[in-house]
Symmetry: C2
Subunit: 192 residues, 2 copies
């Protein structure tokens, strides 16, 4: 049924076939159109999201109305607004599709039950939480410390497959620089 | 023995008196002098740290040798380099004392044993991990989105008690701006 997801689970966890079937059995498959929003700032994040195909972004909006991208989630990744989901309070962030995407969704009650009942899923979830903490510290350091040039090169090194799939203004938004600065950097690279 | 820590545990968890005694029984009390380093980038983070008194900072160093502060940890907070501690690999960050401080330290083996054996401690640890994730997302958004003025005002609102305890250059480092910019902002505020 969901071969990509099952391959992912097999390579990232010690789940049995029966457990995998229980997990996929609780999921809803949904197609999301490009630019469609899966979660809107102010709404409650009711689902854990796994991306089967496509690409999502999570962004916050600053007081001047500008969009600041915190996170890109391509295929075979999870995404959600953790605080909104855990506490069932209004989300501070929006999650939207950059490409036409296929996602799996789990409601909180179902997923909480799976987590309690399947220790190997709990272990996977904890591993993912740890990875989130490590990478967000690193991202913060890069955001604070790098020159625009270093930030772009770091992004290019870290996500070579994403670069051609992203509009430039989104890369600029993720890196916290203007589109003009990003264009200048890329122009400089091409002419080196 | 450690009234501040026990008061903290009572107000943040459902630990029994016996469990609290077991937890404090595994801790080592250490005095750290101002500017002393509890963890040096490149070393392995061997301890969970709880600050009883004083103030620590966690910083990373960029390729140009500059210090970028990710986190301030005043009294009644925990700190560590999570990736280094969890995986027992060299730390990317340094933890140092800003003021003369008293801290409690737990070795990983002891703390892991306590976590397995005391569900209320595990619950507290998970709550702290969640809070870390929520606040690091918010910090990233502020870092990406705010003007220097907004960043400073946000910091002042979020940590009013810390501002008078911190040298200006550390606030500037935390906010990702130059000391000159921060001084200009503060000067502007005084003369409004």
């Amino acid at each position: 049924m969901l071969p990509e997801f099952e391959t992912y689970l097999r390579s990232h966890s010690d789940l049995t076939e029966t457990d995998m079937q229980r997990i996929t059995g609780c999921a809803t498959l949904r197609h999301v159109h490009r630019n469609e929003r899966l979660l809107q700032e102010g709404q409650i994040c009711r689902h854990k999201i796994f991306i089967l195909k496509g690409l999502l972004r999570t962004f916050g909006t600053s007081t001047d109305g500008n969009e600041h991208i915190l996170h890109f989630a391509p295929e075979l990744n999870w995404t959600l607004d953790a605080e909104s989901y855990d506490r069932q309070i209004p989300a501070r962030f929006t999650i939207a599709a950059i490409e036409n995407s296929d996602v799996l969704l789990w409601g909180k009650t179902d997923f909480d039950f799976l987590l309690t009942d399947i220790p190997a899923l709990k272990a996977l979830a904890q591993k993912l939480i740890s990875t989130t903490i490590y990478s967000s510290r690193q991202r913060l350091l890069t955001t604070l410390s790098g020159s625009p040039q270093e930030k772009y090169e770091d992004f290019f090194r870290s996500f070579p497959d994403l670069v051609p799939r992203l509009p430039l203004h989104m890369i600029a938004s993720y890196l916290g620089m203007s589109l003009k600065t990003l264009t200048r950097i890329r122009h400089g690279q091409l002419h080196r």
